[in-house]
Structure formats: structure tokens, C-alpha cells
Symmetry: C2
Subunit: 418 residues, 2 copies
């Protein structure tokens, strides 16, 4: 007997037929004797519709009212799933965020979770064998009693919070992919589904554009030690719960120590959401970095990679950094405005670049991982624009035209091809 | 300065453009210095969609889950209207049933209101000039904390409850007609809009099929002494608030004593939702009425008019009664089943009948009102099947073919033609 949280996204509950399919997944776990809490998103498309109505009502809408409107989508699916489960003979009830209550701070439309007490849910698991069907994405502002929402993708975070509160053995995230892959299978057909990924690795992959899970939900899972299992909601609910190789039908995201055989490199991620800005002949003196990055921070522009070349004469240097593509124009304008304070000869910008990253907790204990990447890219004639590294990640900015070649080369050289 | 509750139904909030129109009505009252609470229904069609989903999820759905699902419609419109009002510069916030809280009993899907404290709303009227935008139709089960709904048309009842709780001077019901008429204008083009109707009269009209207001809302208004004003939401919000005769643009429903010039007859109502059952040669002995109406009550069939002819010989009698058309077949089957216990020669049924009613509180103090009705119908050759009377109403069952003739005749003979 285990205690499980099962989370289903919008495409999994898009209509009553799919909600029935979700219920069959739940029934399988209940029949196996498990205690189950289910967290559901709104029907796909519904949240977009509600958001559009709010925008139409007023472009400058009150986030508290926006939250009241958009939280209704999950309210509907939680009630409907409870009804379907009851129709299958399973004891179930729906819970709105304010009923649990899942308390949040006052940052409406992107609230952070402040607390959730799982005792009532646990009591009902034990006393009534009752399945909790929880409206994801929402909570209640602890100060004001107003409905709050956790931001797009927030149902993943709800699920992790529920799993932590009820001390669940696992939080199963049912989504439209069947797990986390070594890289994007559309680019590398030999990409492999990973059996297990460490939280830190998943965080790097998620923030680098592998959109399986909301970053915040992985962060919360890591700090709360909630084991996540990513799997497809389109698997037949009643089929044997293994893939065609006899392995579990998804990817476990867990503590590094739980993974017995760590690979040195777990995956190759890439992000096209990068633009590069280079400043030529900047004065190499104290305070110049602040003069550049202060105004960018003030404009809420998120700077990612930063490289400063050592100047030969100790007087002038080149500084290169990357920003999200959406902020590219704004970043250039901000720098241009601060030109007299910074002092540089010219500014060059490139948006046709991609950031390729090699990720793996095994790098911590293995030298030479970065050198392998640089050498193999050089052998393919791929020019490296910027490099940044962390303990478990090497990121390399290259021309976008080489994306596929670079990803395939790195995937192969680190032994990830099947 | 007055304190007003304004209630808008589903067609009035069907899309953002109509919600803007509602907001302009609210703005007019706010600009006039009034304190305002608004009660809104779901967008028209939305509740039907949610109900259909519940039925599709399971025909035997849990009423508590049904309530959680269908209450979401009003949540959406209350938030959207608050946003639009704020966009017009008006201080406003939405309130869900559970936030007020509007407490109900545990009869989910058709809950009754147990209590509502208006102090917080009044405080906000006074301290912030804040318009309360309240999700109609819903409350919270006082025992369990679950969302409850008040049944179809329940937003009218919500509005009256709010008006009572905040001691409103008036509760304005904005609907798709511009008031209560002396009879259906589609049948009698000379029908007049009434300036005022007593609660008791409105109750008779509502229960007789004049579907302007939910019966429960009028009952609650009568016991709570909430003055209702029925008017059209399609009136131009910014036009002068009088009709083309300089009168108020709707009908006031109020205490009898507030109406200075009571007419003897206020209106002619009719209901096609009637079927007649006649039992011939029933034994005229104690207990026979119980033998007939006991089984009907047990089958939840609502018997309306009952007539028992005095038997000439004191041994056999005819008993005639009416039931709703929807229960006609069930009623006949129920009687047939009890035939041996009742003892009658034959049963005759007619569904092609209509109940025409003459309504007016003035009847209490005026004799001869009924005689006028019988005489004028006889003059037109209309046969009376069944008669029943109350203090303020005479109801007459006739063949449906004579509906228009009877209504026009009575409308004219009581001086209601314009």
C-alpha cells in the first residue's frame, strides 16, 4: 500500500471522455490498495478563454478578480472527476483551493504557496478510503481570503505541495509525453527515455526549455523531497504498468542519491530563446559591469550568460552576454541609453543563436567533460560564441544553424544514443 | 442617497459587451450617490453546459459535486463585472457565496438560505464606497463547508437575501421584460404594465406561469419586506429613468399597504400546465378522498384544484382534480393502481385544458368579483370545468381552445384594457 498523488493536465481532462480515462487510471491505483489524491488542471483551452475574457473586460485588470475568474476552470474539472469516480463506485470528493485550504501569499496571478495541512486528507484516506480530487493551480490568500492562482502550469506545483502535505510516496505527473528524454527526440531520433533524473538535472533541463514540468514544481519537489514520476496520460489505464522493455512507463525525478548508476551526462538540452549582445572596447575598470547590468536589472531583463575577455593592454575589453529573445530589443535600447555612462566603441547583437547544454550530476566527480564537448564541436566546425558552466552543466552558445548538428554530436559523444 | 441591490440575469451578462452595459447601469446608480450591491447570474447557456457535463459524467451525480461545478458560472461573471467596473473607475470587488458567507442548509442543488450577515458589505459601502459584485445562485453549506446552489433561477433569491441583509431600500431585478403586465401582451395587446403589484398578487402570478421572478424570491421578499423593482436590462443605461409616459420604467412589487390605489383586479394569469382527471361514481363515504390523494402524494404528484360534487342520493359522487401536465400519465397510472381501494366506475382524463385566473388583493373587500367572471365567460359560451378560489384569486379551468377568448374577455370586463 502506497500513498500517491496523481496530477493530470488540461489535455488529459479536455472533455468528459478523457476525464473517464483519467478516472480509470485512478481506479487502477485504488484497486491496488493505494491511498490517492488527484490534482487536476482546467479543461485545455478553458483557462485561455477565461484569461481572454479578463483582458477583454479591461487590459489593466485587478489580479484578484482575474484569479477569481480563472480559478473556476479547475473547480469544474475537480467536480466532474469526482462525479465520474463516484459513478465507478469509488468514494471521492472534490476540494477547491480555499477548502483545503491551500494558503498562498498575496502575489495574485502568480502566488507562492505558504502552507497546506494534509491532516484532513490523510484522515479521510484512512477512515473512508476517500479519494481527494483537488482543483490545481489555486489557493486562498492567507491575509484576505481571496482566491489566488499560482501562475501558468501551477497545477504541477499544487500537486507537489499536496504530495508533501500528505507525505506521499510519489507524485505521478500524467502529461502528454511519456517521460524525460536524453534530448528532444524530434532532433535526435535515438534519444532515450531516462529511467531516473536527479532534481538538480531536471531543474537545469526545465529551465533550458524541456517543458515537461514547471520549474517551480521541481524546486518545491527538491526542497520537500517529493519523488516525481512523469508519465503519459494516454497510456491505456488497464494495461500492464511497464513499457515494451519491461521498464517503468515513465521517468522518476528524485534525489541524486536514489539513482544507483549515475551517468556522467544525463541529457543534452537546448534553448532557442537566447539573443547575444556584445559590447566592444569597454573600459576595463572597476564599476563598468555595474554600469551595464544595473540598468538591465532595473528594466527587469533577465541576463543569462556573461563573458568578459581579459584585455591585452589592461585598458579595453569586450563584454558579451545573453538575454531572452523577447527582451532583445528592450535590452539593446537600455544599453544604448546608458552608453555615455558605460563607455564602449560599438554594440553588436545576434538573435540567431542557440544555447546547447550538457547536463549531468556525474560531472561533479568527472574531469574533462567540458573538454570533450569543445573538441567534438570543433571537429564538426562549429564555432563557439559564449561558454558558461556550473557544477552540473556546460552551456555553449552557437549559431542557430548548427543546432541539430551540435545536439546530435554531443548526444553521441557522451554515449546517450541508444 | 439610497442603498440598492441590482440583479442581472444570464442574458444580461451573456458576453463582455453586455457586461459592459450592466456596468453602465451600475455606474448610473453609483454616480447618483447610491450604495450598490450587484448580484449576477452565469452567462446565458453556461449553466446549461455545466449541468449537461455533470449528467454526462454520471446520470446519478452527487449533488454536492454538481453544485461545485455549476456554481463556477457565477464566479466567472462576478469577477468579470468587477473588472469592468474597476476599468470605469468604480471601486468594486467580487464575492463568492462562500466568501460572504451566504449560509445554506444541506439540500444541495436546491438549497435554502439559512443566513447572511451584511455587516461587512455595509462597512465597505461606507468606508470605501465599494460596490459589492456578488455571485448569485450559490452559498456554502453551513455544516460541511461545501459549495451549495439555490436551484434554477436562484439568483433572484440571492438578490433578495442580500437586499435583506444590507437593509436595502430596493432590490432592482433587471430582466428581459420591462415589468409585470396585467396579462400576457402576446394574447392581449392592450395589456398594461403595472406600476405596482402586492407581494401576494405576484406570488399568485408567478406560480401561475408568469415567469418574471422565481416564486421563492417573491416569498422571501414578502417575509423580509424587501421591495422589488422589475425592469428591463436592455433599457439604455444613460437615458432618463422614466418610460414614455413619465412613469418609472418597471413594476414595483411591494407590501399591499404601500399601493395607494388598489385595483380590485390586478391581472389575468393563465397556465397551460394543467391536466384534469375526473373519477365517476365514487362512493360518497369517509376516507375516500384519502384513498385517492394519499397515493398521489406518495408519488410526489402535486394536485392543484379539487372539486367534489354533492351526490344526489348520498351514495355516489364525482371527484375532479388537476395535476401538472408532466405528471398526467403517472397520475392516471397511480389512480388505476389504487382503483380497488378507491372504488369508482370510470376515470376520465383531459390534458387539453387551461387554468385562467383572476388575481387581485382588492377582492378581499369586494363582493361579486367571481360572479362577474362566471357571467362574462358564460356570455361567450365558454364552459367552466372546475373552479377554485382563494382570498385574492379565482381560478377557472376551461377547454384550451378558449384560452385567448377567456383571457381577453376577463381582461376587458375587469377594466384592465388600457
Amino acid at each position: 500500500m502506497a500513498r500517491l498523488v496523481m496530477k493530470f493536465g488540461g489535455t488529459s481532462v479536455a472533455d468528459i471522455e478523457r476525464i473517464r480515462n483519467v478516472a480509470r487510471h485512478v481506479k487502477r491505483e485504488v484497486d491496488a490498495g493505494h491511498e490517492v489524491a488527484v490534482v487536476v488542471s482546467a479543461m485545455s483551452g478553458k483557462t485561455n478563454e477565461l484569461v481572454a475574457w479578463c483582458r477583454d473586460a479591461s487590459p489593466m485588470h485587478d489580479a484578484r478578480e482575474y484569479d477569481a475568474v480563472v480559478a473556476s476552470g479547475e473547480q469544474v474539472t475537480s467536480g466532474l472527476l469526482a462525479i465520474v469516480l463516484q459513478g465507478m463506485g469509488i468514494t471521492a470528493r472534490s476540494w477547491q483551493g480555499w477548502q483545503l485550504p491551500l494558503y498562498t501569499d498575496g502575489t495574485h496571478a502568480s502566488a507562492r504557496i505558504k502552507g497546506l495541512n494534509g491532516e484532513e486528507l490523510i484522515k479521510r484516506f484512512k477512515e473512508r478510503k476517500e479519494v481527494a480530487v483537488i482543483a490545481g493551480f489555486q489557493g486562498i490568500n492567507q491575509e484576505t481570503g481571496r482566491i489566488s492562482t499560482l501562475g501558468r502550469g501551477g497545477s504541477d506545483t499544487s500537486a507537489v505541495a499536496v504530495a508533501a502535505a500528505v507525505h506521499a510516496d510519489r507524485c505521478d505527473i500524467y502529461t502528454d509525453v511519456d517521460g524525460v528524454y536524453t534530448t528532444d527526440p524530434r532532433i535526435v531520433p535515438k534519444a532515450q527515455r531516462l529511467e531516473a533524473v536527479a532534481f538538480e538535472e531536471m531543474l537545469e533541463m526545465a529551465s533550458l526549455g524541456a517543458k515537461v514540468l514547471q520549474v517551480r514544481s521541481v524546486e518545491l519537489a527538491m526542497t520537500q523531497k517529493v519523488r516525481l514520476f512523469v508519465r503519459s496520460s494516454f497510456d491505456a489505464p488497464d494495461a500492464p504498468q511497464v513499457d515494451n522493455k519491461g521498464r517503468p512507463p515513465g521517468t522518476l525525478i528524485c534525489d541524486e542519491e536514489e539513482i544507483v548508476e549515475n551517468q556522467i551526462v544525463t541529457g543534452i538540452a537546448f534553448s532557442k530563446d537566447e539573443a547575444q549582445i556584445a559590447l566592444r572596447e569597454v573600459a576595463d575598470k572597476p564599476g563598468v559591469a555595474a554600469a551595464i547590468f544595473g540598468p538591465l536589472a532595473a528594466a527587469h531583463i533577465n541576463v543569462d550568460m556573461i563573458v568578459q575577455n581579459v584585455s591585452a593592454d589592461g585598458k579595453k575589453t569586450d563584454i558579451t552576454f545573453t538575454v531572452p529573445v523577447a527582451e532583445f530589443a528592450k535590452a539593446k535600447a537600455t544599453i544604448e541609453k546608458a552608453k555615455s555612462k558605460i563607455g564602449f566603441a560599438s554594440m553588436e547583437g545576434y538573435s540567431d543563436v542557440v544555447k546547447v547544454s550538457v547536463i549531468g550530476v556525474g560531472m561533479r566527480s568527472h574531469a574533462g567533460v567540458a573538454a570533450t564537448a569543445f573538441r567534438s564541436l570543433a571537429e564538426k566546425g562549429i564555432n563557439i560564441r559564449v561558454i558558461s558552466t556550473s557544477e552540473i552543466k556546460i552551456s555553449i552558445l552557437i549559431d542557430a544553424a548548427y543546432t541539430e548538428l551540435a545536439v546530435r554530436t554531443l548526444h553521441s559523444v557522451y554515449g546517450l544514443d541508444g
